[in-house]
Symmetry: C2
Subunit: 325 residues, 2 copies
């Protein structure tokens, strides 16, 4: 009987303590049964009707029990189309069902459709907070932290943070290699270096915005895999507008710090890195999802590192093409 | 009667449709009253007891109504200590009360303690999702997006994203100015440029982790202003460990790409930027909170931009000190 269900499933989270009525009872018998049995059960808002094999047949709210006349059979009053959840459902999915249906409790059934427990909406509040925290931490990116930040040990925090930091360091080595590749053009135009953080960061920032919007929209079920093309097309338009505005914003600084040639390179690069960064940021959560990875892995720091590499290549390629003339 | 309460408050969100019993009734009269009145009311799980001035006196669950004997007065059965919420409470705070108390409904009272409505837990699911989405979008950073991402117009997305992008661009101009200041040392040691993205990003990444952890812990009420010193002290230890590990990770690359002198500069800079970045990232949400700004404004892209400026200054200062010898 005391099966242990996997962590973060409806089976693990459910309350086994629920009121089940046999389908042969009348409303009056049901009211008496409830009166005799609810004393030690808190949190009862619905009673469930089952057949002799414990298979879920219907549901009655206490309100319906109170409002119906006693001689009717419960099967005449109950709602027959019962929303129920399987025991192996992920708790995050269960929370979405509660959001969509507005029930305060939903019965949980096993593979034979037998009633085994009930899930309460108030437990979903904790689930939603826990899942949102997990998603937030992935944005950092930090490995999932099971304890309170205040109480977490120094060594725990170290372990949760170091892996991603080192991964990102090695990604950044590629940016360095990219810069090394363009050593000559940099040596000839040292002013290019002044604009390096500004340009690569702008691509990363635009990409972070795009990925954060998509990650959240996916998490709440607002955007699905099939929306990729639509989102991609829209992102092209948005990012062109963003890129042009930002190019205009930096062109003046470019002229002042490097002269008109450098300003042209900087402005063109800005448009290109914002568009490319945005499209990468928008697409990566879809790609991760397709690869069965969590879309939230496409966090701001990861996007920033990718945008750095791409930004370095775009910047010095444009500079090489325009400044060598 | 039809007062309009401010957006995102309990008053705006409450259901005015709740069952109130006069305190003079018996259980039997109460059951009859509920039977006669629940027909058109969905979502009834508790009935509230009020006096002749509509002042909230107590609460009874339908379960208690069903389980009590009819001749008792409702005042003998009801729970007198009622958790209630004022009409002007922020919806996010109300959701925290639901999480702490595990009620499915909580009554809402006006300034005279008169019952004016009831708040349902299933509406809190939407509140929590909405608030988490707002916080996520601030992390991007994107101005609050009221519509679905899929349906948002191109011009809306542009407006929500451009402000922060331009702000961050102008912050990055300072990084460029910092680099320009160190033009001579860069010209003499061009290999320093290869490590620029790696070092400044590492400070930003460590800082983003620290700020994201604190922002989330503050949002769920786990960390408060008074915890600043404790968190700061702990962050010093964590960031020293992180910095040393990352310095070890890049020292090899430093020797290979720039020789032992550059490697020493890179390793020392790495330790310094990770510590400084982490402490800034950890502190900024506290500072914003102190200034009555949303802590979530201390997002990864903002931290990255600040860490860039600081990183450039630290890097080339250390380089100037060690390489000019």
């Amino acid at each position: 009987m005391a099966t242990t269900f996997p962590k973060e499933t409806t089976g693990r989270l459910m309350d086994r303590n629920c009121l089940a009525l046999n389908h042969s009872l009348t409303i009056e018998q049901a009211v008496r049964y409830v009166r005799d049995n609810v004393e030690n059960k808190t949190n009862i808002h619905y009673v469930y009707v089952i057949d002799d094999n414990k298979i879920l047949q219907g549901v009655l709210s206490l309100r319906e029990l109170l409002a119906s006349s006693g001689e009717l059979p419960v099967t005449a009053v109950m709602t027959k189309k019962v929303v129920s959840l399987p025991t192996n459902m992920d708790q995050e999915k269960a929370a979405l069902v509660f959001q969509d249906t507005d029930f305060v409790s939903i019965p949980v059934v096993n593979e034979f459709d037998q009633l085994v427990g009930v899930l309460h909406v108030e437990d979903m509040l904790d689930v939603m907070e826990q899942e949102a925290t997990e998603d937030f931490h992935k944005m950092a990116p930090v490995s999932s932290l099971d304890v309170s930040l205040k109480d977490a040990k120094i060594t725990t925090l170290y372990r949760k943070r170091i892996v991603w930091l080192v991964v990102l360091v090695f990604m950044n080595v590629f940016s360095g290699a990219g810069i090394a590749h363009f050593e000559d053009i940099i040596e000839a135009n040292l002013a290019l270096v002044f604009f390096l953080p500004l340009l690569v960061d702008s691509g990363g920032n635009a990409g972070s915005q795009a990925s954060t919007l998509v990650i959240r929209a996916m998490a709440v079920g607002e955007v699905r895999m099939r929306d990729w093309m639509k989102m991609f097309t829209k992102e092209i338009s948005v990012s062109i507008l963003l890129g042009l505005t930002m190019a205009a914003a930096v062109a003046g600084v470019g002229v002042f710090r490097g002269g008109p040639d450098i300003a042209l390179v900087v402005a063109l690069t800005m448009v290109a890195v914002v568009i490319v960064g945005s499209l990468i940021g928008m697409s990566l959560p879809f790609i991760f999802n397709k690869l069965k990875l969590d879309p939230a892995t496409a966090s701001a720091p990861l996007i920033t590192s990718i945008a750095d590499i791409v930004g370095v290549l775009i910047y010095f390629s444009i500079a090489s093409a325009l400044l060598s003339l």
